[in-house]
Symmetry: C2
Subunit: 416 residues, 2 copies
Amino acid sequence: MRFDLPSDKIPTAWFNALAHLPEPMDPPLHPGTREPVGPDDLSPLFPMALIEQEMSPAPWVDVPGEVIDILKLWRPTPLVRAERLEQELGTPARIYYKDESVSPAGSHKPNTAVPQAFYNKAEGITRLTTETGAGQWGTSLAFATAQYGIECKVYMVRTSFDSKPYRRILMETWGAECVPSPVADPSSPGSLGMAISDAVADAAGRADSHYALGSVLNHVLLHQTVIGLEAKEQLALAGEGLPSVVIGACGGGSNLGGIAFPFMNDAGVRLLAVEPTSCPTLTEGSYGYDFGDTAGLTPLMPMYTLGADFMPPEIHAGGLRYHGDSPIVSALVKAGRMEAVACPQSKVFEAATLFARTEGKLPAPETGHAIRAAIDEALAAKETGEEKVILFNYSGHGFLDLSAYDAYNQGNLIDE
Amino acid sequence: MRFDLPSDKIPTAWFNALAHLPEPMDPPLHPGTREPVGPDDLSPLFPMALIEQEMSPAPWVDVPGEVIDILKLWRPTPLVRAERLEQELGTPARIYYKDESVSPAGSHKPNTAVPQAFYNKAEGITRLTTETGAGQWGTSLAFATAQYGIECKVYMVRTSFDSKPYRRILMETWGAECVPSPVADPSSPGSLGMAISDAVADAAGRADSHYALGSVLNHVLLHQTVIGLEAKEQLALAGEGLPSVVIGACGGGSNLGGIAFPFMNDAGVRLLAVEPTSCPTLTEGSYGYDFGDTAGLTPLMPMYTLGADFMPPEIHAGGLRYHGDSPIVSALVKAGRMEAVACPQSKVFEAATLFARTEGKLPAPETGHAIRAAIDEALAAKETGEEKVILFNYSGHGFLDLSAYDAYNQGNLIDE
C-alpha cells in the first residue's frame, strides 16, 4: 500500500537540525592553524549560500523554487507500507519505508546534488568537481549539473573506475567527465581520500570551478531533510501518529539524517543508525576532532571516528565505508538522542533478499542495513506483542550492485 | 509534473481488444494439422483461465483481487508530463509518459507475469517454465512466482547467460532457477527459438508444470491494458481530454498494446507502433500465418512477419528483436487503425540521451524507440504550431543496459 503526496507538497523549507541540537556544536577547525574555520576559508571551494547553510542558526531554511522545479522530476517520493514483509515476519508491527530509489540516479543523493548545483550556478560558477567511490554521488552530481547546464568533472577511485564501469557510463550519459584517481599515479588503485585531494586541487586552481561533497557536512544533511518531512505527512495520510522508531543506514550520515532529523524534537520517537560491523564508527569509534579525509587536508570536525587512517575492508556496501560521521549525527548519538547498531553483511543480505522476495524491490547493499534493523525491530515486537510503527529509509536500489547479490546467492559472501 | 492515482484506482477489469476489433480475428492453427487450435491443444501448457482469456469475446475481463494485491506493490504507476523535454524541444505539444519502469523488475512485464502466476497456482500448478533472451521477461516471472510461492525455471539464451549475468542474478535473488539454453548442446550460443523449445518440453513433460509466455499472445496483451486504462484516468487528472497520439515501442507488442488498446475505440486518437529498422516487422513484413518460433513448434498465428527464420542483427534493444508480432497489433495495423514507423538505433540513443539529460531518467533501449517517435511528433508539432497531446509508454529503465549507452557515448554504435 502506497501513500503518495502530490507535486505541490514537496517541502518548501528544509529542517535545520543544527539549530535544534541540545547543545551548540563545536566548530570545525582549520587543519593548519587549528583555529575555527571561517567563511573565508571555505569560499574558494563553496558558494556563500552553502557556507551560510553550513553554519546557519535558523530553524528552517527556504528551498528555492528553481530547486523544487528539478526535485519534482521524482519528488515527493512514495511512502510504502510493507504489508507482505509484515505478514512474512508475523509481526504486529507496521513497517513503512520511504522510497528514495525512484530518483534518476537511484538513491537519495540527488536531493543535495540539485541544490548544490543550483547555488553554485547562482553565484556564477560554471563547473563543479567532486570525488566518487562506487559512483552513487558522482552520478547524482552529474545528473544535477546536467539540469542546470553546468560542467561536472568526477574523480573516481581507480579500482572502481576499472572494475565497475556502469556508474561511469551513467555519468557520461548525463554529460559529465569521469576520470580515474589518483590522476598523477596510474599504478595506484586509489582511495576516496586521494580522489578528494584531486577534486579539491582542481577546483581550488580554477576561478570558474567549485567543489561539491555528497555527505557528512551540515548543509548536505540539511538538504536531505525533505525525506523525513515528506514521510511525516505521509504517515498522517496513512492514519498513523508518530513512528515508534526511525531507521537509516549510516556511512557519512546523509540518508539517515534526512529521514531522522525532522523527528528529533518528537519525544518518544527513537532514532536508529545502522552501520556495518566492519566499519563501526558510531558503535566502536571514539568522539573527538578528526580529519574528514585520509590526507589531513580537510578541516578537523567534531565527530565519532575510527581514525582518519582507518581502512575498512572491501564490503559491498561501499557507501558505508567511512571512518568518520556527520558531526550532527555524532552529536545526537553522543547526547543519547540517537541509537546505533552494527550489522554483519551476511545478515544484511539475508534481510535484503527477504525484502526482495516479499516486497519485490531489490535494495542497494547500503539500504539492506536499514532493512536488517527494521526486521529486527519487527521481530522484537513479535516477541512483546507491541504494535509499534517502524519507519525506515529505502535509500537506493541495487540494480548496479547485482554482483554483490551473486556472491551472497552463491554462498561466497564473507563477513569481515 | 507527476499525476498519481491512489492504490484503490488500479483497474479492476482488463480491456479486451479482441472483442473490439473491426473484424473477427482468424484463429491460430495447429502446426501439424493446420486446423484451428482448441483449448485441449493448449491445456498441457496453460491453465484454463488463460486459455479462455486467449479466445474471450467479453469486452472486459475482471482482474482477480489476489492479482491486485500484488500489482499494488508498484501500481498505479506515475503519469508524468515531460515539461523539461518540451522546453528543450521548443514544442507547443504537451508530452506525457506512463512510467512502467517503477515495477520491481524495472519494466511493464510483471503486469502479466503476476496474473499468469496467479491463474496457474489457482489451478494447482506449482512450477512454471519459460524462456528469456536478455532477461526482462525471466526476471518478471521470477518476481511473480516468488510472490505466490511457486517454483520457476528460466531457460536463458546461452550467449546472454554467459555475457550478461545481471538479470540471471536478479532471477536467482527472487528464488528462480536459471539455466543456459540449449541445454543439450553447451557449444551452441542458443536462440530464443531454442529456449522456447527447452521451456515447452520441460513443462509438457511434468504434471506439476506449465509454461508462460511474456508477449505476443492475446491474454498477455490483455493483462497489459492496465497501463492505458490508468493513463486515461491520469490524463483527465492533468486536465487533458484524449491524447492526439499514443506511442509504444513494438517487439512482440505487449507494452504497445498495453498503452494503446484502451484508446482504440476513441476516434481521432492515433495509435503508433515504433520498431527498429533492423527488425521492421510491421513496416516491411508481410501479413499472413506464420510460426511464433524458429523451430515451427508453436501454433501458426495470423500476423505481420519477416519469416520465422529471419535472424535480426544484434541490436541493443533485444526486446524488439522478434520476427513476428502480436496478432491483435497486426490486425489493427492491417485495418489501418494503427500506424507503424521504424527507427535506426543511433537516432534512438540520441533521443534516449536527450531524455536522460532533461527528464533525468535513463530509459531502456526498447523504450528509447518510443521516446524517439514522441520527440519526432513534438518536432512536427513545432513546425505546424499544433498543440497536440502526446502520450508514450516509458516501458522500462536502462540501468541494466549501460553497456549500450557506453557504445553510443564512445561513438561505437552501429546502425544495421
